[in-house]
Every structure is written in C-alpha cells, then in structure tokens.
C-alpha cells in the first residue's frame, strides 16, 4: 500500500536573518540608536551609529510582542559587544509599536517607512509602496522623506504578504520562491479574484484540479495581487521616483507585474527593503536624541 505523505514542510515560513555591516564600528560613534519595527507578521530591529545602519535582524513576530521586541533587538546586537542598555535612544514602530518596552517613543509606520525609504533610496523618492504582512500602504512624500499623504488597506488580506503565505502553502512552494515561479509562464493567465484571499484560494484550487500547472496558477494569483495594489496606488497617485518597501518588495512576481501595469520602474534597493520601517524609526531616534541633549 502506498504511504500517504503528510505535509510537514511549512512553505509559508520565510527565513529569518541578522547581519552586521562590515567596516563599521560603534566605539567611535557619538550616537547609537535603534529602530524596532514590530510588524503583524515580521519584526525588524536596526541598530544605527551616527545615523548609519550598523546591524539588523529580521524575524517572525511571536505571540507576545514584548518578547519579540527584546529578541529581535538582542539578536541584532549579537556579536557587536553592544547591549540594549547602551543604546542612546530607541523608537518603536509598526503594528506592535506600543509593545517595545525599551523604546522611548513610538512613531507610526507610515512616517517611518517614508523616512526609511528616503534613507535607502535617496531624496528623489516621491511615492513609497509598502507591502507588509497584513497591510499595504501607498505613501506620498517630499524630498526630506516627510509624508504628504497616504492610503492604506489594513482590512483585507488581498494584496498583502499574509495572502502570499496562504498561497505558498496551497501550492507547496516555499514563499521566497513564489515570485520566481509565477514569472516562469510564457503567457499571463487571467487573474483570480482580487478582492478576497479566501475566494482567490478556492479559485486557485479549482484551477489546479483542472490541471493547470503550479506556475500558471501562481501567475494568476500574483496578477490578482498586483491589480489590487495598483488600485490603491492609483488612488493616491504615483509620482516618480517610485519605490517598494516591506517584505513583499522581495517578491519579483509582484514587483515585475506592478512595473508592467504601471509602466514605471521602481528604484533598485541598495539595502534590504524589509528594513525601511525600522530604519526610519532608528533615524527618528537619532533626531529625538539630539533634540533631547540640546545638540540641535
């Protein structure tokens, strides 16, 4: 009798990581700050020396946000000789920003993403699209990285990372490969429902049963996601330069489809775009510390 294999792999589970920027040292720095972005799905901590990225970590948000905040920051500091107590100023942001016990201040993720995008991509950025775990924001900002206006969808999983996690499990493809898989079709199929992940999932399942290959179903799903995000972007209005931040910025299937539909090429990130919110928080932390110390 054939053995039934049970699914043990968690296809939605994306890799966690930390890193220290080489050739940087905190010993000679005058201001050491941290930005801690507790997202609905992922948590990010950035350590900044004199307003420059020094170390960071990216991990999954756990059941208790306070623990996650401590874990993420401690992990980012690992091997640097620094500890949380030595940080001059910490700003919390993201969905769980009130749960960062060692943060002196909290700032909304909208402001932080605009500020962080300004740091990653430079002062020419005017439109930031942040696609996170449970929401999607379209932010217009000025040359200083200040928010001019924004729109967000935080009510519905369609067009968010969480929707992609659900889909990764459905077609048994690791989430970090999904985008690439979705691009390996010769012709773009019509999109599935772009208003509800549950309906999109049901439609995808029926397409798989009809014999569609995984790649084609993935293309239909990503196309629906791109359509949904374009709706939001169009409402806020796109001005160049256009950039994408958040975890989904790493999904080429979404990014290239957005590029195709909008006919605008987003700038290439020089730093991991998932860090944008935490970077913004770390920069605000520096400014707040300087103000507190009467340095400016």
């Amino acid at each position: 009798m054939a053995q039934v294999e049970t699914q043990t792999q968690e296809y939605w589970r994306w890799p966690v990581y930390r890193s220290t920027v080489p050739d940087k040292d905190w010993h000679n720095a005058s201001i050491i700050t941290a930005g801690v972005d507790i997202g609905s799905v992922g948590s990010k901590a950035t350590i900044m020396v004199d307003g420059e990225l020094y170390a960071y970590s990216v991990m999954r948000t756990g059941g208790v946000s306070e623990d996650t905040a401590i874990k993420a920051t401690t992990w980012a500091l690992e091997g640097t000789g620094l500890e949380i107590g030595k940080l001059h100023y910490v700003v919390g942001t993201g969905y769980g920003r009130v749960n960062v016990p060692f943060a002196k201040k909290t700032i909304t993720e909208i402001a932080c993403h605009a500020r962080g995008a300004h740091y990653i991509y430079g002062p020419t950025v005017r439109t930031v699209l942040d696609i996170g775990g449970q929401d999607c924001k379209a932010i217009r900002c000025d040359e200083k990285g200040k928010v001019v206006s924004f729109l967000m969808n935080d009510k519905c999983a369609a067009g968010t990372g969480r929707g992609l996690e659900v889909f990764a499990d459905l077609i048994s493809v690791p989430i970090q490969d999904l985008g690439k898989v979705s691009l390996s079709v010769d012709q773009e199929p019509p999109p599935v429902s772009n208003t509800c992940v549950i309906f999109a999932k049901a439609e995808s399942l029926s397409l798989l049963r009809q014999g569609w290959p995984k790649e084609k179903v993935a293309a239909a799903y990503h196309a629906a996601m791109a359509d949904r995000i374009v709706d939001l972007l169009t409402r806020v209005g796109i001005e160049k330069d256009f950039v994408i931040t958040g975890g989904v910025a790493k999904n080429m299937g979404v990014v290239q489809r957005l590029e195709r539909i909008l006919n605008i090429k987003p700038l290439e990130p020089k730093i991991d775009p998932i860090l944008a919110g935490a970077l913004g928080a770390g920069l605000f932390a520096k400014a707040l510390y300087e103000k507190e110390q009467g340095l400016r």
Binding site: G63, A157, V166, F199
Partner: protein, 261 residues
Amino acid sequence: MITAGVDVGAKFAKVVILKDGQVVARAKALVGFDVLKSANDVFETALKDAGLSRGDIQRVVATGMGRNAVLQKPPINADEAVSEVIADAAGACQVVPAVKTVIDVGAEEGRGIKVEGGKVRDFVINERCAAGAGTFVEAMARALEVKVEDMGPLSLKSMNTIPMNAQCCVFAESEVVSLIHSKVSKEDIAKAIHDAIAGRISSMVLRVGVEKDVVLIGGVALNPGFLPPLEKELHTSIIVPEFPEFVSALGAAVIAANPAR
C-alpha cells in the same frame, strides 16, 4: 402543473419540485468539482423522491452561481435561468406572503433584498469578501477546531461580548488563534464570530433598509447562533422559514410555474 427549481450554489446544489403550488420533493448535495454532474445527481434524487421522471416536469428554472451550467443542458435542460435575487424574492413571497425584506446568506455571498408585492424594489450583494458569508463561519470553525454545525449551539452558551477586530477571514483566523492562546473560552469565541458576521450582514442590509416582515434564508439561516445577533443588530424580529436553504430553489420552481409573469 409540475415544475422544478434548481439552485446551483457555491457549495450546495438544491432542487425543489412543485406540483400545483405544493412542494413534492426537495434534495440537496455538495457541489463537487464537476458542477453539471453534481446538479444532475441532485435532480435525479428529487425526481426519485417524487416518483416522477424528467418528462413529467413541464418547466425547469435554474438559479444560483452555477445556473448557466444546467441551462439547456440535458438531462436537466433548464428552460430559463434567473438571478439569485429574483429567485430569492419569489421563494420568500411563497413562504411568507407579507415579506418586505429578504436576507439571504449563502456560502460565498450575502444578499439583502427589498420586496414589495412580490417584486424586487432594491437589493445589495456582497460577493467579494468571504467575511460576509457562510465561508467565514466555516473558516473560523476550522481555526477553533469545532465542527461547523456545532458553532451556533456553542455560541448560544456564551453571555459575553468580545469584540473581534479583524474584518477579513484570513486575519480573523489569526485573531481566533490568539484568542485561544489568551484563554478565552470556545463559547465566547464562537459568539464573537457570530456577532462579527451578523454585524457585517446587517450593515449591508441596512443599505436597502429593513421593513417587516423580514425573512432570513440561505444555508447560514440553519445556524441557530446567527439569528439572535442579527435580530439585535437590526432591531427587529426575523422569520426563518422551514428549509431556509431551499427557498431560492423554491422561488425558481414558482417562477417556472408562472412563465407569463
């Protein structure tokens, strides 16, 4: 005159056979991958129950999401296809002649219909979001590890009101899991789930206005946990007819019997 109504829904196919205004057979079954075959099987069962053959049925009207699958396709060979809204209104008027508002909550859609003298005056539909349909309760039952048919009775045991913040099925699943972790009882969570869906359905129905008699139909009407919060939200008593999930199919059969309407 003998007619039949076939309602091919997102989840179940339902058939009603009507003889001179009296229901002589009802049958339902899950819609499988092959929609046409599922509908045909249910139709066969209903015919057998009534002791009839296809030739005895003078007219067949189809409705529901999959209505076009059976339109002029043997063996059902439906003569006509009508929208769910039209069939709902006709069916509700048949079971509750004084009906003014029909609320139909199915597996994947929710509808609010304003009816006057058997005619549709206005309607609203949610067909875009699973959080406003039966799928929501099903998904939450999975997260709660409770059978879907136990959800309603379970919720009726709770006296507490716990707000659910998530508007989306996917997000609500995570919220249910975190409620379980924070030791909220299954009864309280089940009630929160029913309060949430009742809130969404009522805000949709209020867009067409609510006037008595109010009739609740569709598969979700079988869930006893849904009625109390819906009545509370809409500040009105609501009639749930017998066999609420067959009302749309009944409406189709009534329409089939009155081709000149």
